[in-house]
Structure formats: structure tokens, C-alpha cells
């Protein structure tokens, strides 16, 4: 699975989120939500990915409502008021909040769906295959690995500190001391493991050669990459022109 056309779509969503009119943004949001259902390339591969997506969408919904209420109540300056469920909301505030909410949904849902539907390996391959510095590919892999490993390690160190009678629940100052006591061993052990793993990646030739085409499953979706990139470019150019004319 090649992530290039998907990345191009994410880029287009991001550019549209700040540069395109709201009607187009709504079309894009609807497309985004339809993609995991209809496009095999965007399908969420696991139950866990689906769960994450559902939770995140619920979170976005709540956030949008909070945005609407906060801006509706607090938008300074004159404006007509809308009465919704007995609450008087400032119309310009509600409009502003809707724009921001739409932008947030577009920005976040595109990235979220991209990462949930693309395996880490495809992303690493992509970084290397573009000839980007191999150090970046190794850095990304190492970071993701440490992120996955740290919560368990933090839990273990905290438990050990607590068993030794460290003030995990004492005063604020005492808890700061525990924080330092946790960070010390965490840094030493994580650095040691990261160095080892870096060696292992280098030994396996990560970044040493371009990946042969015969390994990557060619996808007809690649033909979407350039049109999407061109669309992004046109959107930016159109927006710049409009700004200069004004």
C-alpha cells in the first residue's frame, strides 16, 4: 500500500481547511467520512482502529458543541442573537465557531484516518523511498517504539518507587521529587535501549538502499497523487491571488 495518494489527499484537506470556502470544506468532510467505508485503501484494519476512530469522533463532536456555546456566549461586539433552547447566542460567534469546528474536523479527521489506515511500515518505506534522510526514518521508528514502551516502564518505576515508600501521594513538592526520581531511571534505561535498537536497525540495512518496486504492492490509486497535489497548489495560488487583489 503506497501512502503517497493518501498523503496528497491529507495535504489537500489541510490546505482546504485554511484556504478553501466552507462549502468545499463540508464536501471534503463528507468525503473523509465516506472513505473508510467505501475505499479499501482507507479501510480501518482492526477493531482497535475502529474504536479509536469512534472515540475521537465523539470527542470532536463534544468539542464542536463547546466551541459553539463558548463563542456564542462570549463573542464580543454587536450582532444579532439566536435563541437556541432558551439560551441567547451571538450569531457572529456561532458562525465563527462553526468555521473553526469545520476546520478542526477537517484537519484532525484527515490525519487520524491516514494514520489509522496506514501501517507504520508503509510510512517508513515511504520516507526512505523518497530519498529522505534515513536518519529520519530511523528516528521515527525509534520514537514510536519508545512511545509504545514508555507507559509500561513508567508504571513499573512508579510502582517500585511506591514500594520503596517514595511520596507518590504526598505534598506537591514531594510529588515533584518523585517525578525527578521517575525521570532519572526512565532516561537511563530508555536511552540504553534506544541505542541498542538503533544498532539493530542499522544492521538490518534500514536506509541503506532503495526499496525495489517488486516488494511494494502497486496500487492504481497512485494516479490520484498528482491531481490532488495540483489541486492543493491551485487552492493556495487562488487564495494568494484573492488576498493580493484585496
Amino acid at each position: 500500500m503506497k501512502p503517497a495518494p493518501k498523503l496528497a489527499f491529507v495535504l489537500y484537506c489541510w490546505i482546504s481547511a485554511v484556504a478553501a470556502p466552507w462549502t468545499l470544506q463540508i464536501v471534503l468532510v463528507l468525503t473523509l467520512f465516506a472513505l473508510p467505508l467505501f475505499s479499501p485503501m482507507w479501510r480501518l484494519p482492526s477493531e482497535r482502529a475502529k474504536h479509536t476512530a469512534r472515540r475521537f469522533l465523539a470527542f470532536l463532536a463534544i468539542l464542536s458543541i463547546v466551541l459553539l456555546i463558548v463563542n456564542g456566549l462570549m463573542f464580543s461586539g454587536a450582532g444579532r442573537t439566536l435563541i437556541v433552547g432558551g439560551i441567547a447566542l451571538n450569531r457572529s460567534g456561532v458562525l465563527f465557531a462553526s468555521t473553526v469546528a469545520l476546520r478542526l474536523i477537517l484537519l484532525s479527521a484527515s490525519v487520524l484516518f491516514f494514520f489509522l489506515s496506514t501501517p507504520m511500515r508503509a510510512i517508513a518505506d515511504f520516507i526512505e523511498d523518497r530519498g529522505l534522510p534515513s536518519a529520519l526514518a530511523i528516528l521515527t521508528l525509534l520514537s514510536v517504539h519508545i512511545v509504545e514502551m514508555l507507559p509500561d516502564r513508567i508504571h513499573d518505576i512508579l510502582a517500585a518507587q511506591e514500594a520503596r515508600g517514595a511520596p507518590v501521594r504526598g505534598s506537591l513538592l514531594a510529588r515533584f521529587r518523585s517525578l525527578i526520581a521517575v525521570l532519572g531511571p526512565l532516561t537511563v534505561s530508555s536511552l540504553a535501549e534506544a541505542i541498542e535498537r538503533g544498532h539493530a536497525y542499522a544492521l538490518r540495512g534500514l536506509g541503506s538502499a532503495r526499496i525495489l518496486p517488486s516488494y511494494s504492492t502497486a496500487s492504481s490509486a497512485s494516479r490520484w497523487t498528482w491531481p490532488l497535489l495540483s489541486l492543493s497548489f491551485i487552492t493556495v495560488a487562488w487564495r494568494l491571488l484573492a488576498w493580493i487583489q484585496r
Binding site: G198, A200, L203, S208, R210, L212
Partner: protein
Amino acid sequence: MAILGPSEAGKTTLLFAIAGLLGIHGTGASSSGSVAVLGHAFTPFPSHPEFPHVSMLLQDPAVQISGLTDTVQEEILLGLRHAGVARENAEHHLEESLRLLGIPHLRDRTLRSLSGGEIQKVALASAIATGPSVLLLDEPASALDPASAIALASLLRRLAHRSTIMFTDTTLDLAVRCADTVCVFDAGGVRFTGSPADLIRSGSLYCDMLPTEPWTTALRRLERAPAGDPLVRRLRRLAGMT
């Protein structure tokens, strides 16, 4: 070839220098010197691994599993792909490395379901799949039970037909079973170079320094026994010491 010596003697640093790992990720920043690998002299040390010509098995094989793949097959193909081996040929190398390690049955297993010993074998299979000219192993026997160590020795003897093999160890046991040459390291310097039998014969301090299991102890006793005794002669012949 076996690199023997107590811990902290600099054995791993030597392997890292040969593998081209000293220049990256900062192992042994204080080291100096030069290395010649496959006809290329490096002064100072090579700054990047001579992949795929030099492979190395790290002391903790679990670290070596990339975490990018799900199955044993994909894991071994990963290195082949980075070595630039075409997909059609890769299949052949994959099968051969699995066969050499005696693990064709693990091919479709997920990496998470493997035991510690199996992980070592998979890591070794990935290391040899690219057909390296030099294979380095850092204390491969340290976590093995005696039976697995014997199996490892015969595996290394088989692999020696394909690659130059260097491994480190803190005991003499694996070296006695499969090494042509031993090199004893201590305090950062070479103290002895020769065959395992020579080392035992020399009765040197470094031979006593290395802990041994009964088989090696027996060999050492045999070496020191009076040569006139016919039984000793016969035992020596059986042990391949003549």
C-alpha cells in the same frame, strides 16, 4: 573465530568496530584505531555498517526484531529487501536461511508468539539471509542451555562454509566445539591467538581464567595427561586432538 575474554574486556567493541557501528549512535566514542573489512581499510573506524556484507547478531536478539513486521517470513524479507534482492530471488534466500536454522515450520508464525530461543533463531536467519561475507555474533551462547549450545555449535560449523564467522564468549565451551581460531582479550589487548587446542595446550593463565563446563575441562585434563599412555592417546584421537 572466537573472541574470548572476561566481561568489559572490549569484545563487543571489537565486533562493533568491524560491523561499522562505532561511528553511529555513539558506542565507544573514546575508541581509536583502524579496521580493515573485506579488503577496505578504515581509519578511523568505518562510519556505517557494511550492509549486507557484514551481519551481526546482537547479544539481545529480541532487540533485533524490527517491530515493523508481523510474521517470521516478512521479518526475514525485510533485510533482503533493503539489500536490494529482487522479490523473485528473495523467496529462495528466505527458504534457505529457514532450512539452515531448522525452522521452516516457523515461517508463517507471528513474531509475538515466538519463544526466546526461537527469536534468536529468527534473528540469526535474518542475519544470514542476505548471504553476508562476515557474520558477527555477540555472546550467542550466553542465554542457551547446554543442549541448545551444542546445536548452535554445529549450526555455526555449517554456516562457516558460507561466511567468515566471529563470535564472542566468556567461556571456552562454544569455541572448543566449533572455532578454528581463538583470540583471548583482556584489558583491551590481545593475550593469545591460536587454535582452541593450542590454548588448552599452552595451559596459559587465560585458559584458567575462562570458566568451562565438564566437556572442556575433560579436554584440558586430557591435554595435560602423559602422552605415553595408550588410553590417553586413544582418547585424544577420539577428541580430534591429534
